[in-house]
């Protein structure tokens, strides 16, 4: 449809994106752009289509219409693992880690090497892998727990582990779905610090409900409502937007 | 080492026997008259003592085939008990070791091997399906055992280590088709069967014979074992209007086939089409229900209702032993012949040695068989009459025809392959 700007400077450009489930349009003609090195937060009431947008970007849900370009490459026709290999990382709402494996192994499996069947068969745990795992583990506050089975971690630690598993892939775009849900206050602070740190050299898209946390991290905020953009801009700007206030407080 | 020694002895004894059949026959006379020592009547290390001899019974007690094989087990046990009551074989009581083939062919092979190698039985009565027989055959040939196989079957086999006490295909088929063609004026046939070797081979013979008689096969069809929906083929039969439906359906499919045939309005008690089967014995009718198969004709060698003294005594003994509500089918009777034929052969040979029994077997006759008179052919099958029965509502067949002469068994029929 919209093929006007085939090349953009944006890291990610979503144009005219629509997806419908049996006639219900969960995302409706959406346009959204992500800059390099930007922390972009998507907020909105339940059912606004926030998670669906992330699903569409990472290929988990197929778009009915529209385009998603990442570094000017069309993502909508790619399969999930290809999108990941392009440099898009995705964290799920509930921590999705391998509970039967240790923290080390969790990170190691995410290390971007030996991703084919035979690559995995011949994969060697060399010094490069070890040091990288240690480095990332340190970043996500898990360096002392490398040999612990992941199932035994606390909820917050599991969230961090999943973030670490994304970081080790060194993605250019990191998508986080409610990264601080279920975290304690001190864990939230640590997470905010972590996010600010890792955004050096990459862009981050966050879906979040916790407004305090959003204020702490967001460079830019998009408010979604019924699959459409209601408002966009800095936190202060959207907070002042009457449409937003109406949606959140009205009815 | 011991095995090797046995083997050598075995070879030697075989040569000795071949060299002097006459002396063996003389020995046999002596053996039958006076009690003999175990080492005289058993030179190959079989499980024979001064007063006992071990045999094996090998059928499926569990699994899908247990339904069919139960009757054979009962018949074989009855025959063994009767023989023992008459004083046994060569003065020795028969002890049987029963093994379960579990409806699984390697299990049959495995158990056959156990009976021959570990238990050293003098004979085995068993197997029901062709597949189980094919599985044990190499075992019997390798370890030189003797199998008495009771089921009517497709033929195409003739092993020195097997006595086939049921009919092979041509005996059943040719007599049956001749009869419907002659007596009922049948000119067109629809062949139908379960999809496996016996029905397919049998129908092949039937087709050749029908064509030889100058008549026509208007359809031939096979359904997987256990198939239960026959409405389509019944429609085809209605379309083709054959004089005879020639059915070799087995097992659970039988029940479905006859019930649906009746429900579709094909009344077998009317002239056309008539139905001729070689696979439904009285045993199967219990599952099908007499009212569903009334009017069908079966071609086989035995019916429970046969009216002769042997059979009346046999049916009476069988019911006393296994209960009043039991029915006896063709295979059950054939299984009953096994131990008696073996006894006769052993006594003729004067020895339990497998090779001697084998040599003595051809020509053995049984005048006390429930079906009447049978005789073992050179090819190890039985000469027997074929009879046509008419199914009645009470689940019995009424014999309406029997061949005048014994049918010669012909497992490799020339011109039928």
């Amino acid at each position: 449809m919209n093929t006007l700007n085939n090349n953009t400077d944006f890291l990610l450009s979503i144009e005219n994106l629509t997806v419908s489930f049996d006639g219900f349009k969960a995302v409706n003609d959406l346009n959204l752009y992500i800059d390099e090195n930007e922390i972009h937060v998507i907020i909105g009431p339940n059912g606004a289509g926030k998670t669906t947008v992330l699903d569409l970007i990472c290929g988990r849900t197929r778009a009915t219409d529209g385009s998603i370009k990442f570094r000017n490459k069309e993502l909508t026709a790619m399969r999930e693992h290809e999108i990941v290999r392009e440099g898009v990382g995705r964290k799920f709402q509930n921590p999705s880690i391998y509970e039967d494996l240790t923290v080390f192994e969790n990170l190691e499996l995410s290390f971007p090497r030996g991703r084919t069947v035979f690559g995995a068969l011949t994969f060697q745990r060399d010094e490069e892998v070890r040091s990288r795992v240690r480095e990332i583990a340190e970043m996500v506050f898990l360096d002392t727990l490398l040999d612990m089975q992941a199932a035994l971690l606390s909820h917050g630690q599991k969230q961090w582990l999943e973030i670490g598993m994304l970081l080790i892939q060194d993605p250019e775009l990191l998508m986080l779905d409610e990264p601080v849900a279920g975290m304690s206050v001190s864990e939230r602070k640590q997470t905010a610090k972590l996010l600010n740190e890792i955004t050096k050299g990459r862009s981050v898209m966050v879906v979040e409900h916790d407004m305090k946390f959003v204020e702490d991290i967001a460079h830019r905020v998009t408010v979604l409502h019924q699959g459409k953009i209601l408002s966009e801009g800095s936190m202060a700007k959207v907070q002042a937007d009457p449409k937003v206030i109406d949606v959140y407080l009205g009815h | 080492m011991r095995r090797l020694k046995n083997l050598i002895e075995n070879r030697l004894s075989r040569r000795a026997v071949l060299a002097g059949t006459v002396s063996a026959a003389t020995l046999a006379m002596a053996g039958a008259l006076t009690p003999s020592f175990a080492q005289d009547v058993n030179t190959t290390g079989l499980a024979v003592t001064e007063d006992t001899v071990k045999v094996g019974i090998l059928h499926s007690v569990t699994g899908t085939m247990a339904i069919s094989e139960t009757g054979s087990v009962q018949a074989e046990k009855l025959a063994i008990e009767q023989i023992n009551a008459m004083g046994g074989v060569l003065g020795r009581k028969i002890e049987y070791i029963q093994e379960d083939g579990a409806s699984d062919w390697p299990t049959f092979a495995e158990k056959a091997k156990k009976l021959l190698v570990n238990d050293k039985v003098a004979a085995v009565f068993g197997c029901w399906t062709s597949a189980s027989r094919k599985a044990v055959l190499p075992v019997f040939e390798q370890y030189n055992g003797m199998l008495y196989y009771p089921t009517f079957y497709e033929g195409l086999e003739q092993s020195p280590n097997v006595i086939y006490t049921g009919q092979e295909a041509t005996q059943q088929i040719i007599a049956g088709i001749d009869w419907v063609a002659r007596e009922k004026g049948a000119k067109s046939f629809y062949l139908l069967g379960s999809d496996y070797i016996w029905p397919r081979t049998s129908n092949k013979i039937a087709r050749k014979h029908i064509e030889k008689l100058g008549h026509k096969v208007v359809g031939e069809e096979y359904y997987p074992l256990g198939h239960t929906q026959f409405n389509s083929v019944i429609n085809k039969i209605k379309l083709k209007k054959p004089d005879v439906i020639y059915a070799i359906v087995v097992g659970g499919s039988n029940v479905a086939f006859y019930k649906q045939l009746k429900a579709a309005g094909i009344d077998m008690t009317k002239e056309k089409p008539l139905l001729l089967t070689i696979s439904v014995t009285e045993d199967e009718i219990r599952g099908i229900g007499g009212e569903n198969i009334e009017g069908a004709y079966a071609a086989m060698k035995y019916f429970q209702s046969l009216d002769n003294d042997n059979n009346q005594a046999f049916v009476k003994a069988f019911k006393e032993r296994w209960g009043d509500d039991i029915v006896i089918g063709d295979v059950t009777q054939a299984a009953y012949l096994g131990p008696w034929l073996w006894k006769a052969a052993v006594e003729k040979a004067g020895s339990f040695d497998i090779d001697k029994v084998r040599l003595a077997s051809p020509g053995i006759e049984l005048t006390t068989a429930p079906e009447g008179y049978v005789r073992i052919h050179e090819n190890h099958h039985l000469w027997s009459k074929t009879r046509i029965g008419l199914a009645k509502t009470d689940g019995q067949y009424e014999m309406i025809y029997e061949t005048a002469d014994l049918m010669e068994p012909d497992p490799f029929p020339e011109g039928y392959q």
Partner: protein
């Protein structure tokens, strides 16, 4: 040594040694050739069970059609042996000498094209591996690329087993029908029915089993092994870590298929025939129970599970044929409800700590090797049944 250690823990090495000792020393000494041959037959099922450990226990893919691959391997072998047994001299009485007897009975007058290559032993050996692998690849690609998994996969593989059985039985001119391919005699002129041959085949079978155990261990200890567990537990996470999950599944399904086929080929050699009754639904499900009794996560457990169930089957069905099905049924239920980790679970809870005391040198006990997982059986100490 470091290499060896990274790929086998002491417990696992001990496990392998014990299996080898049982196979090569204990059983041949304790049993006569009849029982040993029987035991060898059981062992052929162990190949299937090991494949199921990888495919189902680790990877979470339950196939109810392993009998298909067992059968394919077995039939390939049987076709070769049957051709060798069907020389024109041996089949002189047939109307067409030189073709297998069952073909002759079915009025087939020339060897069908797909039988032709089985005159060559080399081709046969390649086919035993390649045919099931290809078949599994086609099924796997069709299903896994479309994300058919779990229950649906189980039911579809079951249907495939049913189809193949009907097909084999129906096409008896080409397959030997319900009787199967029987009366196999020699392999390159060597009589496989003699006691001596049975001994040799038993050892070949045992050697192959050890090799397969080692190979499976390599797979499990590679990153692929951990990926399998990861796919089972968090398929999406693996996908979003940049892996093509379907390829991993296809690989392990093919791997399991090839193992089953090797088992099938050895079965044919030792038992002397092959028939459709090893292809269908019932044997396929029984093979799953072998694996489940062993503990579905341990390749050594799979071997013992197979042996235990088969031994019980033979013993019980000899002594209490009536009770056997009750026993087998109860075993299915118990292994699901009471012992989801099967024999290997029992071993880990009760025996492994004691064994550890003997095989782990003093002073090292407290400090597990950093490079290998802390638990003796890899990461699966708290393994839960796959869903």
């Amino acid at each position: 040594m470091t290499n060896l250690k990274s790929f086998m823990s002491r417990q696992e090495m001990l496990g392998l040694l014990v299996v080898a000792a049982v196979l090569f020393v204990v059983m041949p000494l304790a049993m006569d050739i009849f029982r040993l041959n029987l035991f060898g037959k059981y062992l052929t099922y162990a190949f299937v069970a090991i494949g199921l450990v990888l495919c189902w226990g680790k990877g979470g893919i339950l196939s109810l059609g392993q009998g298909v691959f067992f059968g394919l391997g077995g039939y390939c072998m049987a076709m070769y042996l049957k051709l060798e047994a069907s020389t024109p001299e041996a089949t002189a009485i047939q109307s067409t000498p030189g073709i297998p007897d069952f073909m002759d009975w079915n009025q087939i007058t020339a060897l069908p094209w797909f039988w032709q290559p089985f005159n060559s032993l080399t081709f046969t050996i390649v086919a035993i591996i390649a045919v099931p692998a290809l078949f599994a690849f086609i099924i796997g690609t069709a299903m896994f690329k479309r994300r058919v998994g779990g229950v649906y996969f189980a039911i579809i593989t079951q249907a495939i087993a049913a189809i193949l059985t009907i097909l084999i039985i129906g096409q008896q001119g080409y397959t030997g029908g319900v009787n199967g391919i029987t009366d196999l005699r020699t392999l390159k002129g060597w009589d496989i029915r003699t006691d001596e041959a049975k001994y040799i085949l038993y050892y070949v079978n045992g050697g192959l089993l050890i090799a397969v155990l080692l190979l499976s261990q390599i797979v499990l200890k590679s990153k692929l092994g951990r990926l399998l567990v990861a796919v089972r537990d968090q398929e999406d996470r693996v996908r979003f870590s940049g892996y093509d999950v379907s390829n991993i599944k296809i690989f392990v399904f093919c791997f399991a298929a090839v193992l089953s086929a090797i088992g099938g080929a050895m079965f044919t050699l030792q038992v002397g025939f092959m028939s459709p009754s090893f292809v269908g639904i019932v044997p396929s499900i029984e093979m799953v129970i072998f694996c489940a009794v062993g503990g579905r996560l341990s390749i050594f457990g799979a071997v013992y599970g197979t042996l235990l169930v088969n031994w019980a089957k033979t013993t019980f069905s000899e002594t209490f044929p009536e009770l056997w099905l009750f026993g087998l049924g109860a075993l299915f239920i118990a292994v699901v409800l009471v012992f989801p980790n099967g024999l290997s679970g029992l071993y880990r809870s009760y025996l492994a700590p004691i064994v550890d005391r003997f095989i782990v040198p003093k002073g090292r006990k407290a400090e597990p090797d950093k490079s290998t997982p802390a638990a003796p059986f890899g990461a699966d100490t708290t393994a839960k049944p796959a869903e």
